[in-house]
Symmetry: C2
Subunit: 462 residues, 2 copies
């Protein structure tokens, strides 16, 4: 490096990713001082995805003030980025008339994302504000089933006949007015508009004008039927490292294209579903939902657990006499239940995740269940020894130690069996394996744990 | 439609997504008949990502036979797609010498993904097989911290000076031999090679040759420091719907590019981590791990729960005399613990998810904790009434109903407080909020549930 040249300063990324907390504080302060002009100016300096984040992070009344300030030129893209429950409130505040103005700036797939959540009459009012062309696109999109590829796709696609060459392709793109804003592949179609190949733009750009497109194209094309579930489509994208993929109708004709940025959102949604269901919370139960909505959405799951707990209590009640004679049983019985419950949730988590990733299929279900039973048995053995010794030393009874050890082994084996077989079975019946599994499982291991432990005690100790 | 023309048949996608189970059966059958030629031919007909799936789904001995058959021309890309524990076994089977031959076909970022898991001396042997250029690229990549943007990026980038026009850009790409296989944006750099703007390829292709690049470029560029955590980078991609983003060194010079397909893998990894940690299983604990590895990886988590359970038993033991006098307490006490545990896991799940999505930050932590306490109180009230009535009717004691109702309310409030405050606090201390939270939480709600219920009973009922 030339000594006379100044050393480049160390690069300091300002806000590394996302909103700076200090910035949020500035907006807070401005709103609390009723300085809405300043708050508005701050908000307008943000990228729309950061503005959406800001709106999510503000308390309800502050958010209302800011939305009011932004109302006249509310940025359309912010709506698509907002969390659903916040979006609902913002839309309510804007009113349908203003909402219609706002969505008129969006592309058809984004409009669909917003209006699909509205009531029918509200939807009509918003669609009325669109141009006829846009309205047709949105209505066609809405005609596909919810969560399908058809809802997700963009309608405008760059398609060309197979007999063109690179030069013709480039000239066509330069001359066409209404190209999609962003696209990554060109699709080659036969005369019936069925896709037969794809060429990435980087391939086009690194090739001379005279080369024929069909010499460049990759024919190993995954066609996505418009009614395919979005989760299937996301699987394909991940599997093949796709950036965009053609969507086709019943007759295999090209009707749209799905791009990976929409898939990233789908992946997040699906993961959220899995994690929420495993934790026993509804999808609508997020950080921004109102207190009463959250309370209601958790109630039903708690109710399921209550029923399970009452059944477990009923089992304990069968042995009330035994416990009266030997209160150590009441002291120790939660250990059997806790350990069985934990082991079964571990197994369940691995199984649910593997089903979601399509690693666990009918082809290896039996082998997996078998493995989980062996794992349960081995850990059961280890913990049986540990817990047996603890019980023996604590209550000075070798027999009590033996009884709890036996109960632990049995409960671990059942935990391995039920934790893997239940989600596989639910999936086969067409249910989401994450739903209900954990309540049913804990119920099984609790009831069984209490029963085995207390029954063995009644049989062997008294 | 012309009546003479045959109606297009309904389009039937063959294997909609992923491997066909019948196909897996065919391979099974071929391997079981020791017809390795047929199995090999079937395997070779697959796309490499499907072949990776197939290898994952085969039982250990069948997989070994198939890998042996494929050994001579083992497809390099299959290795990058394999699940980690299966990959480890396949690598062991292939041997370092063969592995070195195989990875020589891969791009530097894929080689990094494979060799970063090897021991130092194994890594050396594999790197020795690479060309000097490739070896340098891989070693530079390995010099970045694990899970950083530097490890993830591709080193070869399409960068141009700002003063070029579209025609020059296209000519450059046509004439350059070593362009990256796939790229989506062109980066414009200043004379010190610092990125100042980006242009998507679709933009280039729809613009005439004489237009200056700096008229097309978007200057609102997010630079990713090479040492940024991959999770941060993934957040940026999702936030901005990016397809590719420039990676820069300390002096803000362009050193590589990250593309969205790698980000999709990161998102999956991070989600897997979250879900596994919430369920109390290690990341290495997947469907394909060996029985002993799985047993060992689950043991430590079970141990944590055992300690928690023994503490809970200790609490119960304090009230052994009370239980002896009133065995109904032993019957009902699991209800208090189960309900508190369930409520706290619900809260925890929402909080962990919100932290991962950066919805829960210091700016709204207090508000969130407050909301969760209110939700806990409200559901606590509802279930207190329900459970109180059940206890009253079951054991004919209004006082017992009152005691359990009071215990339920207290436990729900604590569940809301601890379930939200604990992950926030762990995160602030620099821990992963999903780790340990659920064991600590269940321990809190168990111990507290038993204590409050039994102590109130001792105080008020006897």
């Amino acid at each position: 490096m030339n000594a006379a040249q100044p050393r480049p300063e160390k690069f300091e990324p300002d806000a590394v990713a996302g909103l700076n907390p200090d910035f949020v504080e500035l907006v807070h302060a401005a709103l609390d001082e009723a300085n809405t002009d300043k708050a508005k100016a701050l908000a307008e300096s943000l990228h729309w995805s950061d503005l959406a984040d800001l709106l999510e992070k503000l308390a309800h009344d502050r958010r209302e003030t800011l939305v009011e300030a932004l109302r006249a030129e509310f940025p359309a893209n912010v709506l698509t980025e907002l969390d659903e429950s916040v979006r609902e409130r913002v839309i309510e505040q804007l009113g349908l008339h203003q909402l219609a103005n706002v969505v008129a700036d969006l592309e058809a797939d984004d409009v669909i994302e917003i209006v699909e959540e509205l009531e029918n009459h509200e939807r009509e009012e918003v669609l009325d504000a669109l141009s006829d062309d846009d309205r047709t696109l949105v209505e066609e999109g809405l005609s596909y089933p919810e969560d399908s590829a058809g809802r997700l796709m963009q309608r405008s696609v760059v398609a060309m006949p197979t007999h063109w060459n690179v030069g013709q392709a480039i000239d066509f793109m330069r001359e066409t007015e209404n190209l999609p804003r962003d696209f990554y592949d060109i699709f080659l179609v036969d005369p019936r508009h069925r896709p037969v190949g794809a060429i990435s733009l980087s391939r086009i750009l690194s090739t001379r004008r005279h080369v024929a497109l069909n010499a460049l194209m990759s024919a190993d094309l995954k066609l996505i039927p418009a009614d395919m579930d979005q989760e299937e489509a996301a699987f394909l994208f991940r599997q093949r490292d796709l950036i965009s993929a053609p969507v086709v109708d019943d007759a295999a004709r090209l009707v749209g294209v799905i791009t990976v940025d929409d898939i990233v959102d789908v992946i997040h949604e699906e993961h959220e579903e899995d994690i929420m269901r495993l934790g026993g919370v509804g999808e609508e139960d997020d950080l921004f939902a109102a207190v009463l909505d959250t309370t209601r959405s958790r109630f039903s799951w708690l109710m399921v657990h209550l029923v399970a707990a009452i059944i477990a209590s009923g089992v304990i009640n069968l042995f009330a006499g035994t416990i009266e004679q030997m209160v150590a049983l009441a002291v120790l019985m939660p250990i059997v239940a806790t350990m069985g419950g934990t082991a079964s949730v571990q197994t369940l988590t691995v199984a649910v995740r593997a089903i979601a990733m399509r690693e666990l299929t009918p082809a290896n279900a039996l082998r997996t269940i078998g493995k989980e039973i062996v794992v349960g048995f081995l850990n059961g053995l280890l913990f049986a020894v540990l817990i047996g010794v603890v019980a023996w030393l604590w209550f000075g009874s070798q027999a009590l130690g033996g009884v709890i050890a036996l109960a632990i082994i049995i409960n671990f084996i059942v935990a391995g069996l039920a934790g893997s077989a239940l989600p596989v079975y639910l999936q086969r019946l067409g249910f989401d394996p994450a739903v209900a599994s954990s309540a049913i499982l804990t119920s099984i291991t609790d009831v069984l744990g209490f029963y085995v432990f207390l029954a063995l005690a009644a049989l062997l100790l008294l």
